[in-house]
């Protein structure tokens, strides 16, 4: 009797403290694909974190929800010097923080100085290296924390609180769209001051990570963070000081997440969640079929700015021979993989940068599937019929059943068409990433989502010395082309140079075998929820989300 009383009491107390006590009425429940890892805009690299940050903060520019072109944000206008190097931003007088303070150019200076400090450990810090003096400043801090270059050597100036002048090292056509991306968001120095941790060294830019938690987090975007229950939900409410307050029509937004896509989908089907930020891969073929038959209209699925490919380790024999790499590519029936394994309308790829995704950029033509030519290439390399080739070590990460199925299909194609054999190793993500970074593989699965709308987000992966160059590929001609492109002020000529670089990569050098372009999407009922738009980068702006028609309380939700 006593143990059961104790159990009852303990259970009741724990249940009480672990459950949310108030859930707003009329709230929209937005389900993310993964847990929120951090709300520090300088440190985030995960899509779900970035999406929430774009609801909480606003940079100098913001994205147009449909075209993703940069439109005025905190800056009401800007001018660009004729050589494309100096950007002058004019901040609007009514841009305010969620605590009512004005957003000033000093706030941007503060944030950019912080992210450029190595101790901030910002994953996307290299994006700021477009700014003149930023890379030397960062490197000097990393090398000599005590005798580093002054921040005034970086090309960012705030002549007055309403003006910010940025000088670039080279013209950058997509610099404005970077202004809408989290690493460039302003931070509120006053709100963060109390979280400074001097014990990490006087020169450090280290803050206690609690500053991102409510009620301390101060942001300047459409919403403010009202609550954050670990692993349960984030509660976003409209920031009443936001200059574009009228565009924000949702009164309460819950950002939630589930341990796996299946339980999330169940919650969506039962009405506990209104928007899914993904289409669950396991159900995607069936859902798309129902959509085609007009049985449902809530699947919003499209090709996105990401590609699935295989890295080839170019450091060792025999894969350092481009003939073999090209042979491997030409012996794969990519159409069959998409049709029979993925069973969704994904697009097979011959190139690395998803075609037709970047305005003004024309993708080159890659190599077609041609088994006879592939066999010839292999013979030319000295391995007719695959004789004399070692068994290649193929690495893939666990977690998605699709990876193994694709690898098995390709292994069979290579064996049948070329006589090439591979050994498939499946590893936990952390181990897989480590092995790939250290080059312990011959062929490895890879996927990449572009970080900004420019071909270099892919092409840079094969530049000598880039930490993200996982293939060990190094080619002076490619490095030269990329360098020339970075100095080229004329946008069309620059893209032409990049076109040449990609053409050489996918027709001659082939350090990676492109397979298909990712597709993804949203799930929501378009008759009930408005203000959401799908776009190629899956940047769903939470700002405009609103009810068109609120649902009646359902069985599962009604008793809250």
């Amino acid at each position: 009797m006593i143990p059961s009383l104790v159990l009852l009491l303990v259970g009741a107390i724990c249940f009480y403290i672990s459950t949310p006590h108030r859930l707003g009425r009329g709230a929209i429940n937005f389900c993310e694909a993964g847990q929120i890892h951090t709300l520090d805009p300088d440190k985030m690299t995960w899509m779900q974190d970035i999406r929430v940050a774009m609801g909480l903060w606003e940079g100098l520019a913001q994205y147009d929800p449909k075209t993703l072109q940069p439109i005025p944000g905190v800056a009401k206008s800007w001018t660009i010097s004729p050589d494309g190097l100096i950007y002058t931003f004019h901040l609007r007088h009514n841009a305010r923080w969620s605590n009512g303070q004005q957003v000033t150019s000093e706030d941007f200076l503060f944030a950019w100085k912080r992210i450029l400090h190595p101790s901030t450990a910002a994953g996307y810090v290299t994006m700021l290296f477009h700014i003149a003096g930023a890379r030397p400043y960062f490197n000097s801090l990393a090398a000599h924390p005590r005798h580093h270059k002054p921040f005034s050597s970086v090309g960012v100036k705030a002549p007055n609180p309403r003006t910010l002048v940025v000088t670039l090292t080279h013209p950058c056509g997509y610099f404005l769209s970077l202004m809408a991306f989290p690493p460039f968001f302003p931070l509120n120095p006053a709100a963060m001051a109390r979280f400074r941790t001097p014990e990490h060294g006087i020169a450090s830019a280290h803050y206690n990570p609690r500053w991102t938690r409510p009620p301390y987090l101060v942001s300047d975007g459409p919403y403010y963070l009202a609550a954050w229950k670990f692993h349960q939900y984030l509660e976003l409410r409209p920031n009443r000081y936001y200059w574009d307050r009228r565009a924000v029509r949702c009164t309460t937004l819950y950002v939630r997440n589930f341990p796996d896509t299946q339980s999330a989908f169940l919650a969506y089907q039962s009405g506990a969640v209104d928007v899914l930020s993904f289409v669950p891969p396991r159900f995607a073929p069936a859902l798309l079929r129902q959509q085609r038959l007009h049985l449902r209209d809530d699947v919003h699925y499209l090709p996105v700015f990401g590609s699935y490919y295989y890295n080839l380790n170019c450091r060792h024999k025999p894969l350092n021979n481009p003939l073999i790499r090209r042979a491997l590519d030409m012996a794969i029936d990519k159409q069959a993989i998409v049709k029979h394994i993925l069973r969704v309308p994904d697009r097979p790829l011959e190139v690395l940068v998803p075609p037709d995704s970047i305005p003004g950029y024309h993708s080159p033509r890659g190599l077609p599937m041609d088994i006879a030519a592939a066999q010839k290439l292999l013979a030319q390399a000295g391995y007719p019929g695959g004789r004399g080739l070692p068994i290649f070590k193929f690495l893939t990460n666990s977690g998605a059943a699709m990876n193994i199925r694709i690898a098995q299909a390709i292994a069979e194609m290579w064996r049948k068409n070329l006589g090439v054999r591979i050994n498939i190793h499946e590893e936990e993500s952390k181990i897989f990433n480590q092995d790939v970074v250290h080059g312990h593989y011959d062929i490895a699965r890879a996927g990449w989502y572009g970080d900004y709308m420019d071909p270099t987000t892919w092409l840079d992966l094969f530049r000598t010395g880039n930490p993200n160059n996982l293939t060990g590929f190094s080619n002076r001609r490619l490095d030269q082309l990329l360098h020339q492109a970075s100095r080229q002020a004329d946008a069309a000529r620059r893209l032409a140079l990049l076109h040449d670089a990609e053409k050489l990569l996918v027709t001659r050098w082939m350090p990676a075998i492109p397979l298909f372009q990712y597709s993804d999407g949203l799930m929501y009922n378009p008759k009930r929820i408005g203000g959401l738009a799908t776009n190629i980068r899956m940047i769903t702006l939470l700002k405009y989300i609103h009810w068109i028609q609120q649902p009646l309380p359902t069985v599962t939700e009604g008793r809250r």
Binding site: I2, P3, S4, L7, L8, V10, G11, A12, I13, C14, F15, I17, S18, T19, P20, L23, Q35, I36, H37, T38, K43, T45, P118, S119, A121, A122, G123, Y124, V125, F138, N139, L141, A142, H200, H206, P209, R213, K229, F230, H231, F258, P259, S263, A264, L266, A267, S270, A272, S429, K430, I431, N433, Q434, V437, G447, W448, P467, T556, R559, R560
Partner: protein
């Protein structure tokens, strides 16, 4: 008694330290780097991250640094995968969820299990006993993910009687608590059936019957208290396994508990978080065993501490 408790507490400190040491070195021996993800930051950023998590000066330095942090500040600092939350924050938020779920499951297991066990013993060899034996066999041998998914399909998806998952209402607690309870329920019912059978044939029970007490009174007043000692001593380990074993149930029913956090922390090689959770589990297990020993001594005068 006092001396016993004191010496057990001293032993516990050694146990906790040993668990910390073994866990730490096991973690260090596993492959994988917590800071290498899909996108590689510049080397200076990686170095800063390693420094922040005490992983820049070799493994032994990290071992001492984390140990010192726990002793001096009672915390492991921020986690690696959820950098805005310290290990303590994570445990504070997720442990109550798992404890609430676990204690409800144990409560169900205890009541239904003991009930079924006594019923089986009373009707020994007849059809209710047979049915219960088959039921408990199924309960012990079927894995929770089968029971959980089955119940989910039946009661949530097909009939919408109960919510499919989530956390926040009592209705959401029913399915996962019952699923988690099933194996413990089955085990407790076997345990209490066996000990009831032992007691039922004892002399004092015959005496009680001979005095003319009704069968109900004999069971409730004489058999049950004596038969429940075995169940009581099982509660200690059961508490530990109900907490650590709730991972599957938490995953099926989308419950934000510590089990899911723990498994993901191991996969992500989140060193401070794994250490923190293992230590919390250890402390709970050690304390529960101590409590159960004290409770058994109080319930059974033959046991001396």
């Amino acid at each position: 008694m006092k001396k016993f408790i004191l010496s057990r507490l001293l032993q516990s400190i050694v146990v906790v330290w040993l668990v910390y040491t073994v866990t730490f070195w096991l973690l260090m021996a596993t492959p994988g780097d917590p800071f290498i993800g899909k996108k590689q930051p510049p080397p200076a950023v990686l170095a800063a991250l390693r420094q922040e998590y005490h992983l820049n000066k070799g493994d032994f330095h990290a071992y001492l640094a984390y140990g010192w942090q726990v002793l001096a500040h009672g915390n492991f600092g921020p986690t690696i995968s959820y950098a805005n939350w310290t290990v303590l924050d994570v445990i504070r938020n997720s442990l109550p969820v798992s404890v609430a779920l676990g204690s409800m499951a144990l409560l169900i297991a205890l009541w239904l299990g003991v009930g079924a066990g006594v019923l089986g013993a009373v009707f020994r060899g007849r059809w209710p006993d047979m049915a219960l034996t088959v039921g408990t066999l199924l309960g012990i041998s079927l894995p929770t993910f089968v029971i959980g998914s089955g119940l989910l399909m039946l009661l949530a998806v097909e009939t919408s009687l109960l919510p499919s998952g989530g956390w926040g209402t009592l209705r959401q607690l029913i399915l996962p608590a019952f699923t988690l309870a099933v194996p413990f329920l089955a085990y407790i019912s076997r345990l209490s059936r066996a000990s009831t059978l032992d007691v039922i044939s004892a002399d004092f029970v015959r005496t009680a019957r001979a005095k003319g007490l009704s069968p109900m009174k004999v069971i409730a007043g004489h058999v049950l208290p004596n038969a429940s000692i075995a169940v009581l001593s099982y509660l200690g380990p059961a508490t530990a396994s109900v907490l650590t074993g709730s991972f599957v149930v938490e995953k099926i029913f989308a419950i934000p508990g510590l089990g899911e956090v723990f498994v993901n922390a191991c996969l992500d090689k989140d060193i401070p978080l794994v250490l923190g959770i293992v230590l919390v589990y250890t402390v709970i297990l050690v304390l529960m065993n101590l409590l159960v020993d004290i409770a058994s001594a109080m319930a059974d005068p033959r046991i001396r501490l």
